[in-house]
């Protein structure tokens, strides 16, 4: 069983499956920058413009009705 981390650095390392500080993160920096730029556009998603739909509950109820 995985041992619980004792500090936040350990926690981060465990949460990323030990991948922090990898040289590959630097080696593919250009590709990551492209991805990062696209990801940052998401801060502009109009979260208030779209009412949430709880599709999972609806599906559950639909299944119950059938039985």
């Amino acid at each position: 069983m995985t041992q619980p981390p004792e500090n936040i650095r350990e926690w981060l390392d465990a949460a990323t499956a030990g991948m922090l500080g990898s040289e590959r993160l630097d080696a593919y920096a250009d590709a990551h920058l492209y991805i990062g730029q696209r990801l940052l556009r998401l801060w502009d998603v109009p979260i208030e413009a779209f009412a949430p739909t709880d599709v999972f509950s609806a599906e559950w109820a639909e299944e119950d009705e059938k039985q």
């Binding site: 250009d30 998603v45 779209f50």
Partner: protein
Amino acid sequence: MSPRLAGIAAVTQAVKRGTTSAVELTSESLRAIDELDGELLAFTARDDAAALREAAEIDRRIREGDPVGPLAGLPLAVKDLYDSFGLPTSYGSAAFPEFMPSSDSTAVARLRSSGAIVVGKTRTAEFAWSTTTPPTKNPAALDRIPGGSSGGSASAVASGMVNAALGTDTGGSIRIPAAMCGIAGIKPTYGAVGRGGILPANWSLDTAGPLAGCVDDLRLLLAVLVGHDRRDVASAPRRLLEPLVARLQTATEISLQGLRLGLVQEPLFEITDEAARGAHQAAIEALAAEGAEPILVVLPETDFVEGALLAIDLPEGAAIHTRLLRERGDEVSDEIRGLLEFAHLIPGALVALGQRARHLIRERTRRLFAEHQLDALLVPAAPGPPVRVDSSDAVSLRADGTTEPTLWGYARICWLANLTGQPAVVVPLPAVRPPLGVQLIGRPFADDVVLAIASAVERVFEQKLRLVAT
């Protein structure tokens, strides 16, 4: 022309009538692989003896009057991401050199029980994470990439080594290689084709589907492939799939007259290559001349498509492969390992916003179809022709003055349909070299309708654009 290279309907009818045999077709396909694959490098595995045994069994059934399936004797290939009994699956990765599946994936089982003959496995990019498939070559332009990640399947079909092949499409992996090799391909509606026995690249975006020489062949393949799959938690319910299968079994002719095709104006669908822009415009004009109605539409939410796709695709992919990376990471290529490791660092808030954006994009796209009474969206299949093999690190200039890695651009133009789950078909522009195509995006679970539209579009292209070349 060999009867094997006719459309699927003609090939399977010839087998059933006895004017050719499954063994003859399979032998011819295997000879073509012997002859061509030394250069094209599309196949990763074959079992000729098993394929010929399966073909002989089809011939025996026909001789003895036993029923055979709709794809009787059809030689086809399967992307090396699908389990196929008797053939090794490597997922395009050195981490799985000798994995021998003990059963067929759902899609392969459906094809085999319909009489198709699996002649081999085709090359995929590692874990299906690329828009190209080295070292496979593009038979339509040997100095260009074949596209990916289903590049082996596209190369095998475009060269005539097989009549059809299976691919997967998480962010364009069927449509990109189809467009680049000049053949037809469909990303079916999400949930329509079962994914049991396929290595997942992404749980909420992956689709399985066929590539073939023409649109009607896609219909015949999909009529067999669509169906509920107990092994796939995202498989759609039977009440949606059974009527779709029934509709796919019959060819429907749709007239282009009055057909409303939405042309999305946003930069997501920007073509970065000048010659490709001209070819795409010529295609739209040819369709309009036959009575189709191109309708300019705006969908500003497409500005979030790239972010949403990446925020969902990368972390899901990272979650799928974390254990492998931790335990045997040195067996994964540096490029894929670096990408997946980076994916672990994407902030959770952005992933939540990506999911939110996905709902928004899907709802706005649905409304767009309703408000404009659209039959389909007509968008480019690629922002430009396939790059040269030695230029895979090329960048393309966007209209806003920014640049994008050209290999990422091929994917970006496909991502709307992955996020919304809609079916999307690539129709090649005939005689254009290096190849280009258009993409038709239809309504969910109306794959039959978008295929019928694509078939009508294909007929016009064959008649009107045959002589156009970029």
